[in-house]
């Protein structure tokens, strides 16, 4: 199976660059965005197995980016990364449809495992959609 492709969104360029390099060293295909607007553009035009999203960003913050991204693509697997994770923030993010939330600094292997979980969940969702489509087509034609 191909390694997951992941989009990392953070307004701190050196953090973004270093996490991207560490994940790339583990075989992930990594793209980056320095703000919510660029992330939403990339999400609209590309397919990602998981999005790692910083909560505190100027202009469009992580929570708003999460809402807009899931509106575009409800099957997105988003991991919220935050410098000040609170249970309340995490619960809110998960209620909105995030896969999970992690506190900065996150252990890179734990983050990698979460990205893989996101990819697996997305693949599963895709298979379910395909199965439903096939079942409906069979029903439609009476097969």
């Amino acid at each position: 199976m191909l390694q997951p492709n992941v989009l990392i969104v953070d307004d701190e360029p050196e953090f973004l660059e270093t996490v991207a390099e560490r994940l790339a060293n583990r075989g992930f295909s990594v793209d980056t965005a320095q703000n919510g607007a660029v992330a939403l553009e990339k999400i609209g035009s590309q397919i990602f197995d998981a999005i790692v999203l910083d909560l505190m960003m100027p202009e469009i913050d992580g929570m708003e980016t999460l809402k807009r991204a899931l509106k575009k693509k409800p099957d997105l697997q988003i991991i919220l990364l935050t410098g000040h994770a609170t249970l309340q923030t995490g619960i809110e993010a998960i209620k909105l449809g995030a896969l999970d939330f992690m506190e900065k600094p996150a252990d890179i292997d734990a983050l990698a495992a979460k990205i893989n979980e996101g990819r697996d969940r997305r693949v599963e969702m895709d298979e379910q959609v395909r199965e439903t489509a096939v079942r409906e087509a069979l029903k439609k034609y009476g097969w």
Binding site: E14, R22, G83, P105, I108
Partner: protein, 208 residues
């Protein structure tokens, strides 16, 4: 405790909480970057130990970046320390040319999150004796928050401290979409300050 004192105590704690939350987020951010960079450095060293070629220039750059980040985190701590001590300075010990940059540096991250930036203008002004530094800093902070919110994203505000006919004045200039709200009355009353705001300017005047 009367209502005004109670209100002042609540606002002082709110201001202190905002300043410390801001500074600790900045420090945490620097630590998060250093954490990633030092782990990457460790990974390169592990690769080298396994016989893989690692570019020494890449290691050098990483170390330089970590050193720079330590310096930035140290700046935040120094600023927080200067703020902590500003409240108990003797009159005249902290001049306006120290107060304005300190307040703006403390506010920079919040400004960035609100989508604005604030630039200092003007020179050295002596602060009036007997001024309550903590309350003055709080009043300036709330002026900055309210003006930044009123300005909206993408704006560059100008800030200055000057001696006007009415006494020391802290002003902010920008294009405000709506009139910036004043700091709460309890702060203004305790500081002996007045506030005025228009579409382009905010003035906090200390008449005491």
């Amino acid at each position: 405790m009367d209502h005004n004192q109670d209100q002042l105590r609540r606002l002082s704690l709110d201001f202190l909480a905002q300043v410390t939350a801001n500074a600790t987020h900045e420090i945490k951010n620097e630590l998060a970057v250093m954490n990633e960079q030092s782990h990457l450095l460790q990974e390169f060293l592990e690769m080298a130990a396994k016989g893989r070629q690692v570019d020494p220039e890449r290691l050098h750059t990483l170390v330089e970046r970590i050193i720079a980040r330590v310096g930035q985190a140290d700046e935040v701590v120094k600023r927080l320390n200067a703020f902590a001590h500003s409240a108990d300075l003797k009159p005249g010990a902290l001049r306006a040319d120290g107060l304005l940059p300190l307040t703006l540096e403390m506010f920079a991250r919040r400004a960035s999150l609100l989508g604005v930036s604030v630039e200092a203008e003007g020179g050295d002004v002596e602060l009036p004796t007997g001024v309550d530094m903590f309350l003055l800093e709080a009043a300036m902070w709330y002026c900055l928050v309210n003006a930044s919110e009123a300005a909206g994203k993408g704006q560059v505000l100008k800030a200055g401290l000057e001696k006007g006919p009415e006494g020391l004045v802290f002003w902010l200039k920008g294009d405000f979409a709506q009139e910036p709200a004043p700091p709460e009355a309890a702060i203004l009353e305790s500081l002996g300050a007045s506030f005025s705001a228009g579409q382009n300017e905010v003035r906090l005047s200390l008449s005491k």
